[in-house]
């Protein structure tokens, strides 16, 4: 079976009922999607399947054949962060980081689908994603900022100076 992940085609064994998440992490070593609850309750494994956010722990890998899968590695890189990733840095929206890739992909799809900075709509779009650091306020601020198309100065966070990988330590 062939899977296209972040634009690269891979041949994989995991067929049948094997969850897409296990194929991505264990077979392909793509660890952006996290195995949180492994039963659809936390959203940390969310990936984009043809641009739509889907729980990779619930989807048999067989259903992903012939689709374009995007993980957090595919929406930006440390040198070239996507607008959502920049917003998360600027608004300090990641604490432990475990939920972050799923949150960012859900946000990415929300904004690509015309989502606005309306907080209720963002809560609905990210409603299945759990942040056990409870950093929801800053996550919603970040998604709203990215939805507005704000420009971000990554040498600072929204609350002050901050050193990031993306700026090579300037601050």
């Amino acid at each position: 079976m062939n899977l296209t992940v972040n634009g690269v085609e891979h041949h994989v064994d995991g067929g049948g009922l094997t969850p897409l998440l296990d194929v991505l992490r264990d077979e392909l070593g793509i660890t952006g999607p996290k195995a949180g609850c492994h039963q659809g309750g936390c959203g940390s494994c969310t990936v984009l399947v043809d641009g739509e956010p889907r729980r990779s722990c619930l989807m048999p890998a067989a259903y992903a054949e012939g689709t374009e899968i995007t993980t957090v590695e595919g929406i930006g890189s440390p040198d070239d962060l996507s607008p959502v990733q920049q917003a998360f840095v600027h608004h300090y929206a990641a604490q432990c980081g475990f939920c972050t890739s799923g949150m960012m992909l859900a946000a990415h799809a929300y904004i690509a689908g015309g989502g606005t900075d309306d907080h209720e709509a963002i809560q609905e779009a990210l409603g299945g994603h759990v942040c056990r650091c409870t950093g929801y306020s800053k996550i919603i601020d970040a998604v709203a900022a990215a939805a507005r198309g704000d420009d971000f100065d990554l040498t600072t966070t929204a609350v002050g100076k901050y050193t990031t990988m993306a700026t090579g330590g300037a601050a």
């Binding site: 049948g16 009922l17 889907r54 722990c57 299945g128 759990v130």
Partner: protein, 263 residues
């Protein structure tokens, strides 16, 4: 052509039918077969070793998805995502919107929701109540034979049949009242659906008051308390039997009031 078969491991044979006929043939008498729609129920069960089916029937490529309208009758295919019901008139639309979150609604299927087993912590199958209130009928197969029957007759034997589609007449009015969920990943502890058919027949049904959705005929005359004659509320992880007993008549009353207002 026979359904494509993929080896999962020694214990589970995975069948991927490419049409309704192939799905019916592959299901056969259903013995040892786990039917997989979107995967939201079966896949975590297999992940956590709660379930190791002899055969898994992946319906995603069998062409069973889609909503069709023929006059006042709507037919929903088995693998139609729950998300496609959101936005429909009550009780179906609001009931579907109350299932999980938007990602899981886009993955989980109507057939999977209607056929959901009892669940480990709480009853599953939120849509059962809404479809019961609509007087829906189910097309299903077993042993190569296709039959159509009312949903309330189908539900007790849903484990042994392959659901193909569910259909209903557009109601004159509908209403839905459910308990809030603390988080999108929780099942609804209790919900009541109601609909008045074009001929004036009023149907009420509950989800969360038994092992599957149940009609509440005793309350259909307008006495909300009488709903307790039709079900035996139970204790589970979401709510106590005491709480369900107190809340069921309240939800029934809200649905009856809403139906009255739209008369």
């Amino acid at each position: 052509m026979a359904a494509a078969s993929v080896a999962l491991d020694a214990a589970t044979e995975v069948l991927v039918p490419g049409s309704e006929d192939e799905a019916i043939a592959a299901f056969d008498d259903g013995a040892g077969v786990a039917v997989v729609g979107g995967g939201t129920i079966v896949v975590p069960d297999v992940t956590y070793l709660r379930h190791r089916p002899m055969k898994a029937l992946l319906l995603g490529r069998a062409g069973l998805s889609g909503i069709t309208k023929d006059g006042s009758r709507t037919t929903v295919g088995a693998t139609t995502p729950v998300a496609e019901l959101v936005g429909m008139p009550a009780p179906l639309g609001p009931c579907a919107a109350n299932v999980a979150d938007l990602e899981i609604r886009a993955q989980g299927t109507v057939g999977g929701n209607l056929c959901a087993g009892e669940g480990y912590e709480a009853p599953r199958g939120d849509l059962q109540g809404a479809f019961l209130a609509l007087g829906a009928t189910v097309r299903s197969a077993a042993n190569g034979e296709v039959t159509e029957e009312p949903l309330d007759e189908f539900l007790p034997k849903r484990g042994g049949r392959l659901l193909l589609s569910v259909s209903f007449e557009e109601p004159a009015a509908g209403a839905f009242a459910g308990l809030d969920r603390p988080h999108t990943h929780d099942y609804t502890a209790l919900a009541v659906s109601g609909a008045r058919a074009a001929d004036g027949t009023l149907r009420l049904a509950a989800t969360g008051a038994g092992s599957h959705g149940q009609r509440l005929p005793s309350a259909e005359g307008g006495d909300a308390e009488a709903a307790l004659n039709d079900v035996t509320p139970h204790d589970d992880a979401l709510a106590s039997a005491w709480y369900r007993t107190k809340v069921l008549p309240v939800l029934v009353r809200r649905v009856l009031d809403e139906l009255k207002e739209s008369a």
